[in-house]
């Protein structure tokens, strides 16, 4: 698999009036060509900040890279000037945001908003750009694109606006598309449409997608691989099957257990107690331990390293240390593991 993006040991802090907020505390992951990597986590886990730092969209006055590198196209994105980044944004790496209501400039016709990246990054004439823009609108399923070009964002519905945003992001055939919770603000039925559209387009354009979400249902739908983030770090990463059917980190267990499903008959709906850590003063040990019933003494002292579960699956939890005791995950997780060959609870059959 060709690696198209490599994030190594990324550490980023915000210098605020209250002190240094360590938003990203050591993140490592790769993005393979053509795949969809989902990043899951609660608000405040650092998922948005991570992707914004790939695009260098954070205010340079307060956001500071403390360590690490972001390798793309043979260059370290953390070291590039803003001018150099401008050539990458919208062209090689694109981003779409959560709220379609506010993502588009209300006083600019959408045609112009579509042609803007085309004219900026490619040497084409205005008329050609217009044609391309109309094709893009058609591609995202917008009826009567020629007429729509002159219209303003408020004349479209939420779902349509998100399609426009997607069209804009794909205008220059970027190698990477970062989607920051693109369906969270939409109705469930529209959500499904947009997800289908994105999967379709990915095949057509052969772009790699980083998909941020807190909705595991969406993850199951679109992702090839999943990274679970907590407290500014990735705590578990693996293929979608591995994460859903053989999770190893207590936080992942918590996430999966909090999803109500038709299989959980008597089990109480699990809610992870407590709140995310204060990143002004992050704990020196395992950040999730405080909220976990599986905490070990060592969790309070040292941060666990990544332990390999398979070639594609790792988790950062002391529970995977050979000396660690065997613990029983929540019932709902066990039910899932029963279907996964290779897990402790495997009972035969397939996922």
């Amino acid at each position: 698999m060709e690696k198209i993006l490599q994030v190594k040991n990324l550490e980023l802090s915000f210098n605020t009036q209250g002190g240094e907020v360590k938003a990203i505390r050591g993140v490592n992951f790769d993005l393979n060509k053509g795949e969809t990597l989902a990043i899951v986590g609660e608000s405040g886990s650092g998922k948005s900040v991570t992707t914004k730092s790939i695009m260098r969209l954070l205010p340079e006055s307060s956001a500071e890279f403390k360590n690490g590198e972001i390798l793309f196209g043979g260059r370290d994105l953390t070291k590039l000037s803003d001018k150099e980044m401008q050539k990458i944004r919208g062209k090689e790496i694109s981003m779409i945001f959560q709220d379609p209501m506010t993502s588009l400039n209300p006083t600019m016709p959408i045609g112009r908003q579509l042609t803007e990246p085309l004219l900026k990054h490619q040497k084409i004439s205005k008329n050609e750009a217009k044609k391309v823009a109309i094709d893009l609108l058609r591609m995202v399923g917008m009826p009567k694109p020629e007429l729509r070009m002159k219209q303003y964002p408020h004349q479209f519905s939420g779902g349509q606006r998100q399609r426009i945003v997607i069209a804009i992001s794909l205008a220059c055939n970027p190698k990477i598309l970062i989607a920051d919770e693109p369906t969270t603000a939409l109705d469930v039925t529209i959500q499904a449409q947009i997800l289908e559209l994105m999967k379709d387009l990915q095949k057509k354009i052969d772009t790699s997608i980083i998909f941020i979400t807190h909705d595991l249902g969406v993850v199951a739908n679109v992702a090839d691989r999943v990274a679970v983030m907590y407290g500014g770090k990735i705590v578990e990463i693996g293929t979608v099957d591995e994460i859903f059917y053989n999770p190893q980190h207590p936080y992942t267990w918590g996430l999966l257990s909090s999803m109500p499903s038709l299989d959980t008959e008597d089990a109480k709906l699990y809610a992870i107690p407590g709140t995310p850590p204060d990143l002004l003063d992050p704990p020196k040990g395992d950040a999730f331990a405080l909220r976990s019933e599986y905490a070990l003494k060592i969790d309070m002292e040292q941060n666990p390293p990544f332990f390999k579960v398979s070639d594609t699956h790792s988790a950062a939890t002391w529970l995977l240390h050979p000396d660690a005791p065997q613990v029983e995950p929540p019932l709902t997780v066990i039910e899932r593991m029963k279907k996964f060959p290779g897990s402790r609870y495997y009972e035969g059959g397939a996922v």
Partner: protein, 342 residues
């Protein structure tokens, strides 16, 4: 930092004992909770401009009362032989400024010597030999008085009108707002002038002229806030828990409305001071020999070529007051608007 490592770390025995943790520990609130007003006060204190203005304004108010008292001359007492003397302050005069020297016929002359004046007039004298120091402070007193009374009346009428209109809504609101629309359609300036023409110029006339339509701004703002908050869920929640109308108004709506009331008042005051000064300048304000900042500026303007100090002192004071209020108002607006958190 978490890195993929192949080497399994060696750890002391007992590291892997399971421990039970109180999940509630994770939920403790790490910062002390701060009330809305404490938070606002904290933020005002951080705004240096506003803080400085509050202090400055405080000093001005104190002087407005002390000034005429500590000066040996009454504000309206005339000593014709001492007319048009430039300012002379005993200690500072050694620095070469405020030393009683003015220009006469193109030459710099010590006018105090020339006119045989032995006493010191700190702010100089005006065309009728009146002590500028006590006049200016008295004038400040009068201007501030007019402004505060006008602002208070505006606030009273505005809050009641806007509050009722917003709280009851429906037809009551519709009607009340129609009236307001028409009233605001009439330019303030026009109203003020028309009223002054009806009544004998004086403090009462100015106050009435200022408040007759001045309250509409406050009523609009208050109504906006009441409408915004009364349909918010916390009010619904309070009502579901059985709170009475009075309780809802006092404990839930008022704190949110109080903020805009204060801010609006902060901006009404300089507006009133300005209008008074303006009216006096065009002759519709207070009449001689009464002193207000506006009349003083008017008097001073007439003598600007020969005795600029007569204009300078009231003008400076007026400007300082206006600037101070605008800065305080800005500071309050930032402090009381919780959306703009750092």
């Amino acid at each position: 930092m978490t890195q993929k490592i192949d080497k399994i770390p060696e750890l002391p025995k007992g590291s892997f004992e399971r421990i039970t943790l109180d999940a509630h520990q994770a939920e403790r609130i790490t910062k002390p909770s701060v009330s809305f007003w404490q938070d606002a006060w904290y933020r005002i204190r951080k705004n240096k401009g506003a803080l400085f203005s509050i202090v400055l304004f405080g000093l001005i108010v104190i002087m407005a009362f002390l000034g005429p008292v500590i000066s040996p001359y009454a504000p309206n007492a005339q000593t014709i032989t001492h007319a048009n003397l430039p300012p002379k302050i005993p200690v500072i005069e050694k620095l070469g400024i405020l030393d009683g020297v003015g220009t006469l016929g193109g030459k710099e002359v010590d006018l105090y010597e020339m006119k045989n004046v032995e006493v010191n007039y700190w702010f100089g004298t005006d065309g009728l030999g009146r002590d500028m120091f006590s006049r200016v402070w008295k004038g400040t007193q009068v201007s501030l008085f007019i402004a505060f009374v006008a602002a208070a009346i505006d606030m009273l009428i505005g809050v009641i009108y806007g509050g009722i209109s917003g709280y009851f809504g429906g037809r009551v609101d519709d009607f009340m707002q129609r009236v307001v629309e028409i009233l605001t359609g009439i330019p303030n300036l026009v109203v003020v002038i028309l009223f002054i023409l009806i009544m004998d110029p004086g403090i009462l006339a100015i106050i009435i002229a200022l408040t007759i339509t001045g309250w509409t701004g406050m009523s609009r703002v208050v109504r906006g806030q009441v409408l915004k908050y009364k349909s918010q869920e916390f009010v619904l929640a309070a009502r579901t828990l059985g709170a009475s109308d009075t309780r809802i108004i006092w404990k839930h709506l008022m704190p949110n409305v109080l903020g805009v009331i204060i801010i609006n008042t902060m901006f009404t005051i300089p507006s009133a001071i300005f209008f008074e000064a303006f009216l006096s300048f065009i002759g519709l304000g207070l009449q001689a020999p009464d002193a207000s900042l506006g009349t003083l500026i008017n008097d001073g303007y007439a003598l600007i070529q020969f005795a600029p100090h007569i204009l300078a002192f009231p003008a400076i004071l007026l400007s300082l007051i206006m600037i101070a209020f605008n800065l305080i108002g800005d500071g309050l607006r930032d402090a009381l608007d919780p959306k703009m958190k750092d």
